[in-house]
Symmetry: C2
């Protein structure tokens, strides 16, 4: 069973907007056991849309259309769909009540333009839109050989489309098409490259049962591993996948920091909150990136007290209290200095934990002894302080990102886990 | 004249990778005067690719294909192209020399797999790939009515594709198709929403000559305005567009901070470097974001000395030296406190300039007097200090981003401009 996604919009074809809708829709469909066969992006012209619909009908059993049904441009898609299905627009009471309700909530009067949004093709089923005024439209067109091809038209506004896909369209498709049970689990790893990771887990991967597949999803500084199991019994399948996750967790415990939608920042926040513990950061090469990541989490003021970004030696010495001798003798990028930064900050900010970073992010500043990418990270905890040395790569942006993630993961390993 | 872009790759159709290649290609083509009519994304199956090629040939004069020609998967695309053009693979000496050179530079031996990359369809012109081992392929297929349809196959790796597009493909297309001269200029604005901006410049926009078009490109915290002029004489066109830019600059000087590819961080870096001046930041609600943005610029250690992220009142008082009374009497989010933060940091870090932020980013922490989004920003310069008040929105992420951009722009306005 094939799905085709048609996105309508000139803004996509001039490159002003990247087509994230198609990728998101495809990922969700995949996770529900549907196979996406093609994406087609066309502009707001009736003939062009008609051609795309006809071609898609030959290839796919389900055609999902997004874009072109907002209040200012709805004519083109709705009229085009009427033409394609040889039908006409009729006033839909339910759809109009939805529009009225939304406008009442926002305190605006309903305009004639909005009234037109309640006009829907006669042969379609309207799909409620909880977040906007344009209904989705569900069409079923009989196929010559029996059965029907399903066409669904949705808004192009991402949050409206997403709510409609997960709340309405995918559940309805699952009722019609028998898809296998799928169970997904994503394992989050940090501090190891994709190819090294693959070598480490090769035996486990090769021994996976054939109905459980592994996907590598690399990002700068981390690799996500997604296991997808396919079966007929949901409970058994879940058990089987979780058992593989357990094996993997025992195999590479040092690299795994979490699962599914967790982030290092949110895991750390949860652990610190539970223990009523506090943290601060002393950042040189990361330039405030770790503080920025920690404070992106809502509620972080409960455990994050602050940071000193010490970009110059003067600030390291004068504000953080690093010894002038250490800076002189070992240099700013050294075990000695990064350790002093962490310990001094922990004392000054009166926190339970402190992270410090010092490195050569590049592109300049490298030497034969300390090339670009050289990085020291220290973590101070109630039990003491320790520092680790890394040699990252050439890219300033990636070095900063990798240092920040590595530092957060070192900290996480020092935090007591809730029992 | 229509261009169609075909992207080949299963990773796109499962939503693992967002199709940024198509958007980038479309933008570049547009900037060179070519119109993109459709994007088509297909998977790595021969029949599917053949179908997409045949359909595209009906719609477009130029078909640009990216993906599926790397060393491990090149068979499918190259064999498919051979089948489509009814030709065969032949060994290409030039292509092989390129592969040998690249491997010699990297210090690896050439494998049989890489030798196969020098096999190209007999009817194509190889396009050099400066950054990889897979050549591009240029085909011209005669049309029944005269002329030819051009097919170009490129790698899917973004940086290889981009270098090939700008260095080879677009220049060749411009030689064949007469495109008008286009001149683009992007005006960067900050601190004003899209609709308010549109109202402010409406008269100017309506008076634009018909051969100069305006596009609004909004991003969180800023709006870019792109003017595109089309004409037959490059010099006259450039003069006309620049004259409109000048009019616009006089109309809304307070919102414009730069042009084209500049960023606030890079402009500030340049101005500070020229004046041998230094800066530090005292951040509460932005949590290190401003420091992170400033230090993302290579060479920023020349002017950026550091930051104090003061997320708790204790740190504001003890480390930054804000008066306990001010915190008590006015609260942390106040003109008094943000001003003290900036002045105190400027003195402690011994810098010429200092930025301070304090606000309620949300989702919690708002009160009827100071709702979520309430923000104070102070800028201390050698000439004194001033503070500004803002009321942003509900989203924590956007509030942080808008505060950071606003603070950087306030600082920029205080920096002496080079004569």
């Amino acid at each position: 069973m094939n799905v085709e996604i048609i996105n309508i919009g000139d803004e996509l074809l001039i490159g002003q907007v990247v087509n994230t809708n198609a990728a998101w829709m495809a990922e969700q469909l995949n996770l529900s056991g549907f196979r996406v066969y093609q994406f087609t992006v066309v502009n707001d012209l009736q003939d062009h849309i008609l051609e795309a619909l006809a071609e898609a009908e030959h290839r796919a059993e389900v055609v999902l259309i997004s874009g072109g049904i907002g209040p200012t441009r709805d004519d083109i898609t709705k009229h085009t769909l009427c033409k394609y299905f040889n039908t006409r627009l009729v006033f839909n009471e339910d759809a109009f009540r939805d529009v009225e309700e939304i406008f009442a909530r926002r305190g605006y009067p309903v305009t004639e333009l909005n009234r037109q949004q309640a006009l829907l093709p006669e042969n379609c089923t309207g799909i409620p839109n909880k977040l906007g005024t344009a209904r989705g439209m569900w069409f079923e067109k009989p196929r010559p050989g029996g059965g029907s091809t399903i066409f669904v038209s949705m808004p192009g506004v991402p949050f409206e489309m997403k709510a409609m896909m997960t709340g309405e369209v995918i559940p309805r498709l699952k009722q019609i098409f028998k898809t296998p049970f799928l169970y997904h689990k994503t394992i989050l790893t940090q501090g190891v490259g994709e190819s090294f990771l693959a070598a480490q887990i090769e035996e486990w991967e090769n021994a996976l049962p054939s109905h459980i597949k592994l996907a590598y999803l690399p990002q700068p500084g981390m690799v996500r591993l997604r296991l997808t199991g396919e079966g007929s019994d949901e409970d058994i399948l879940k058990q089987q996948v979780e058992s593989e996750v357990l094996k993997l967790t025992k195999l590479i415990p040092e690299y795994i920091f979490g699962y599914d939608d967790q982030t290092l920042e949110s895991i750390i926040g949860k652990l610190l909150t539970e223990k009523h513990a506090t943290i601060a950061t002393a950042e040189s090469c990361t330039g405030g990136t770790i503080a920025q990541m920690l404070t992106a989490v809502p509620g972080s003021s409960a455990y994050f007290k602050g940071s000193v970004v010490a970009y110059s030696n003067e600030i390291k010495e004068r504000i953080l209290g690093v010894n002038a001798e250490s800076l002189e003798k070992y240099g700013a990028v050294s075990e000695q200095v990064v350790t002093e930064m962490a310990v001094s900050l922990q004392a000054k900010f009166n926190t339970d934990y402190a992270i410090a970073t010092s490195g050569i992010a590049g592109p300049d500043g490298g030497t034969p002894e300390k090339p670009v990418g050289t990085t020291w990270i220290a973590v101070a905890s109630p039990g003491g302080v320790y520092a680790m040395h890394y040699l990252f790569g050439d890219s300033r942006e990636r070095n900063i990102r990798r240092t920040a993630l590595q530092a957060l993961n070192l900290l996480r390993k020092k935090l007591p886990v809730a029992q």
